[in-house]
Amino acid sequence: MTFAASTLPTDEATFAQLIFGAPLLGAVLLLFFGKRLGKLSGIIGSATVGIAFVFGVLSFMDLTSIATGHGENARVLTKSWFTWIEVGDFNVHMSLVIDQLSIVMVFVITGVGFLIHVYSIGYMSSEENYGRFFAYLNLFIAAMLLLVLGDNLLVMFIGWEGVGLCSYLLIGFWFEDRANATAAKKAFVVNRIGDFSFLLGIFLLAVSAGTLTFAGINESAVSGAIGGSMATVGALLLFGGAAGKSAQIPLYVWLPDAMAGPTPVSALIHAATMVTAGVYMVARTFPLFEAASFDVLLLVAWVGGATAVITAIVAAAEYDIKKILAYSTISQLGYMFLALGVGAYSIAIFHLVTHAFFKALMFLGSGSVMHALDGETDVRRMGGLRKVMPITGWTFMMGWLAICGIVPFSGFFSKDAILAGAWADGQYVLWGLGVATAALTAFYMSRLYLRVFEGGVVMPEGTHAHDAPPTMAAALIPLGILSLAAGALNFPGGLTFEHFLEPVLGEPEVAHGLTAWLLGGAATVVAVGGIAVAWALYLRAGGLQVRDRTERMLGPAVRAARNKLYVDRTYETLILQPGRDLAVFCTEVVDRKIIDGAVNGTGKLVAGSSELLRRLQTGYVRNYAAAFLVGVVVVFSILIVRVAA
């Protein structure tokens, strides 16, 4: 594989700047005139993202029209505006790149982004700061596009910080509520930790590779110009940034709290796009990871696998509909890192795409439910809603089946490919983690779906549930179809998607033949098993209470006859209770005490030492002079020791 070094500013990508310029223009317009535009803001906001999508399609056509005679790598379009830094031999251009990888990301961002914008028109209709909301949302889209279009780490970092800022602003959108402001701050602080790791990585690569373009870095990684140990440190630092943005252990704690923001924000930023930036970044720089002397990729895989399992367990113990989806998102991101770690880069991106569809769909569906139930988020107070709100219910079902990995829904193909990749890489333990996660995922998502949408109708008192209004439905239905059908992008046999990405990401190694069939079968069995357990425990649990009451009336004899009850009890004590304890342990101890504690502790340490230090600033000039004198004495002592030595 060779890499085209971008030495000269080029101007091939005609539409690159328009892709990201359109939403930026929208953001500026809405920021200044949002109040005056009123309800028009939503339409402008959506339209600019739609326009960006159209430009994305045009760029795609440009890209595919290029003759591939000179090897696959000719299919790269770059757009340079100006030279940004020029210090000696070190250059950074403000330039964008359109290749197979970035165009896929552009489609996800603008496509899903457009649908979520449309959804928000309905969802946020009663919101006072309607214009401001769309301004932030557009700004986010622009920053995210810059992140994926940048052809070097610095441009990417600008987008990276930009999405972080927008995320912060949008999580705290309802900042009147203190909890939301705190959540926003937590997200910001945790992300900063990752960002600094990323920034240090950029410094390091600038020094060791002498360039910041992806092409240049990858080339010097492959050619060995960056030493193995340097590549190790650089890759670790970059991965630190990725783990922060993509909510991996130990930096995942901000994402569940980030659900404080409006639901479309959760769907767009905290499920479909921003949180996948880390996955994108690692995929972009994978030759660096491969060049590392220490097996950083294995670490990536293990972090991903561990995150996937642990957060899936936590998800199984949650009752808040958005929190379940949030933990599920972290778990699915863990899958993507697992895929990256075993070298199946294009499969990670494939899962990123399908996940963007079905998770955005489910978030929007949960938003629709909350919209209908006056903001209720506790799944225990819902039930049978598919009868009341059929559009939401049916589309949610698509998402549910997709994430469970049922043939032929999209999630099956991407998840199966990841497991097959892990198997083919010889990482059988990781494969086991993946399968366990698949089972848990099927279980907790079914628990969510069955409780909320199936069975008898349960609603909080005084709410009059109604189905999604037209604009919201207009987003749900296409996403439902995509969740069902996106697997077609990469059907076994054709593998269109993988081949499309091959020039950038290489060919993934996956299991073939009988093994592949067996692995796929195993994944399906596990998924169906998870669904069945959930069905047995939860859908029938509603009936269980009714039965319980009858039993009390009829006496213990009948109750004793009902053996199944004991089976349920056994399940409860043998499987569920330890599971729940483990989940509680993960939530309470690992999550809240250790990881949260570390984050809060750092904050407290700073604030505490600040409080302590400021006492020294007494306001008395004589004390200041004394401090000065202490400083002089220290300086003198250091120097005298130095001189004497």
Binding site: E161, F188, R192, L199, S610, V621, A625, V632, V643
Partner: protein
């Protein structure tokens, strides 16, 4: 008998001479055409230029600006000379004429001119005398410029005192303010105190080398070249005290205690001027002294300066977190920024020196704008400078809030602002010199620092109902101009930094023996 005037080359200090002359002219003109405030001339009555901000009091600021223009012109002229013939010294080796000093002088002139513009509007609105203000700013800029081009410790001391004494007065300029008086008193006492240590340092260096001259024959440079290392202990101790004295001026921990009080009590335009100019002047002297003259002794002073850099970055950032007053917070932030510049000092390479110049120039432009915003929002006695007083600023003045956001992001070091580039450059220099761990500390300090810049932003964008009193900006064309200029510089230098960095690199050459 014919008197033959000795031939003295003046090009090296022509900018300083121009500024001092303008200051004298301003004082003289003030006596005749200066517009005394009502409090001193009650008969003046209703003719106050309350409406038109330039009013009939435009002569003195215009004169001062012409002075700064002349200084820039003369500095550019000196640049052409050194560019053509190389760096030299003048006045028997007392004055260094080199690219470094010219760069610093032009930057200082810009800071001074901005301060004049801001100060004019600030003083007219508060009905305060103006003549002395302009003269003091002019004198202090002249002193700061002299710091950059002094090639003799005597000159360094005189320059230091020139700008310090002017600043003592400027800090307490608004005499009716109790905190202003207190700030002036504290700054003065501590400043004088630290000057004596600086002087003791010079005395020790003199005792060690027999000269106060940096480059001349028998001066410190040649002494270092000819003396065995064992005989240098007195010189090292003297250098330590020089670092202490200059560290005081740039607000390095533990010599920073005056900073928050003086910054808080001083009128905001003066605070901005101090933050920008005083720091640049102090670092100019430090860079010349440490990175050039005492370069052979770097193994002796570097551990000390690394310690100062680390402590300064951390303490400045940590203490800023709990501040409620925005001026005080910016004071601690300026301490932290001094620490960041120190990372460039310890690099002792050309990249470090040019990086420090770039850092100080961009930081100055940003901080002047930030304090200009504080000035227009603070009210007549600057009582509304608490962080909570900025609550709801976005609703009241969206554009101003936007600009303040930009400036704060720049101070925090977020990309597409000049502050990010500046940090990148100085940190890069330190990494190149092998001090990666210091940069890591710097990164941690900036992470802490992000907290408090963020706090201002959060408060600003709040629109809740509890706003006791909406922020109200009182600003005329001059303040708007300065704020706009600062914002533009922050953004433009954040996007297109290459020209300025190249200029700083080109200017990084020094007079030598």
């Amino acid at each position: 008998m014919d008197f033959v005037a000795p031939k003295i080359a003046l090009s090296g200090i022509a900018p300083e001479i121009a500024l001092a002359a303008t200051a004298l002219l301003v004082l003289l003109a003030d006596a005749f055409i200066g517009d005394r405030p009502r409090t001193l001339r009650p008969e003046h009555g209703s003719a106050r230029p309350g409406s038109g901000i330039l009013g009939n009091r435009w002569h003195l600021p215009l004169l001062s600006l012409i002075g700064f223009g002349a200084a820039v012109y003369l500095a550019l002229d000196a640049w052409d000379r050194v560019d053509a013939t190389g760096a030299t010294t003048q006045f028997s080796g007392m004055i260094a004429v080199d690219g470094f000093s010219v760069f610093v002088k032009i930057t200082l002139a810009v800071f001074g001119a901005l301060t004049i513009l801001l100060g004019h509007e600030y003083l007219v609105r508060r009905d305060l005398e103006e003549g002395e203000f302009f003269a003091l700013v002019l004198f202090s800029v002249a002193g700061m410029m002299l710091m950059a081009s002094s090639a003799d410790l005597i000159v360094t001391f005189l320059a230091l005192e020139t700008f310090s004494i002017a600043l003592y007065v400027l800090v307490g300029y608004q005499r009716s303010r109790l905190d202003g008086q207190e700030a002036a008193m504290k700054y003065f006492l501590l400043g004088a105190f630290s000057s004596t240590f600086f002087l003791l340092g010079i005395a020790l260096v003199f005792g060690a080398t027999g000269s106060t001259n940096l480059y001349g024959e028998g001066g410190i440079t040649s002494f270092l070249a000819t003396t065995p290392a064992a005989d240098l202990s007195l010189l090292v101790l003297g250098a330590g005290l020089l670092i202490v004295g200059l560290g005081f001026k740039v607000a390095a921990v533990p010599f920073h205690m005056w900073t928050p009080d003086a910054y808080q009590g001083a009128p905001s335009p003066v605070t901005g001027f101090m933050a920008a100019g005083s720091k640049l002047a102090g670092f100019a002297a430090l860079l010349r002294l440490l990175d050039v003259v005492l370069f052979p002794l770097r193994w002796d002073w570097r551990p000390l300066v690394i310690g100062i850099a680390v402590v300064t970055m951390i303490v400045g950032s940590i203490l800023a977190v709990v501040q409620d007053d925005i001026k005080r917070m910016l004071a601690y932030s300026s301490i932290a920024h001094a620490g960041f510049v120190f990372t460039a000092v310890i690099a002792t390479n050309d990249r470090g020196i040019s990086g420090a110049l770039f850092y100080l120039a961009t930081y100055g432009l940003t901080i002047v704008g930030a304090f200009a915003i504080v000035a227009v929002l603070g009210g007549p006695e600057e009582r509304r400078t608490r962080v909570n007083d900025f609550r709801g600023l976005f609703a009241a003045h969206p554009l101003l809030a936007g600009i303040l956001t930009l400036l704060m992001l720049s101070l925090a070091g977020v990309p597409i602002t000049s502050g990010f580039v500046a940090k990148l450059v100085v940190f890069g220099a330190a990494v190149e010199a092998g001090y990666t761990w210091v940069v890591v500390v710097g990164a941690i300090a900036s992470a802490i620092a992000a907290f408090f810049y963020l706090r201002i932003l959060v408060v600003m964008y709040m629109v809740d109902a509890e706003v006791a009193e909406e922020p109200k900006a009182v600003m005329g064309p001059l303040s708007i101009g300065v704020i706009g200029l600062s914002a533009a510089a922050t953004l433009v230098l954040g996007l297109f930094w290459s020209p300025l960095i190249e200029l700083a690199e080109k200017a990084t050459f020094f007079a030598g023996p």
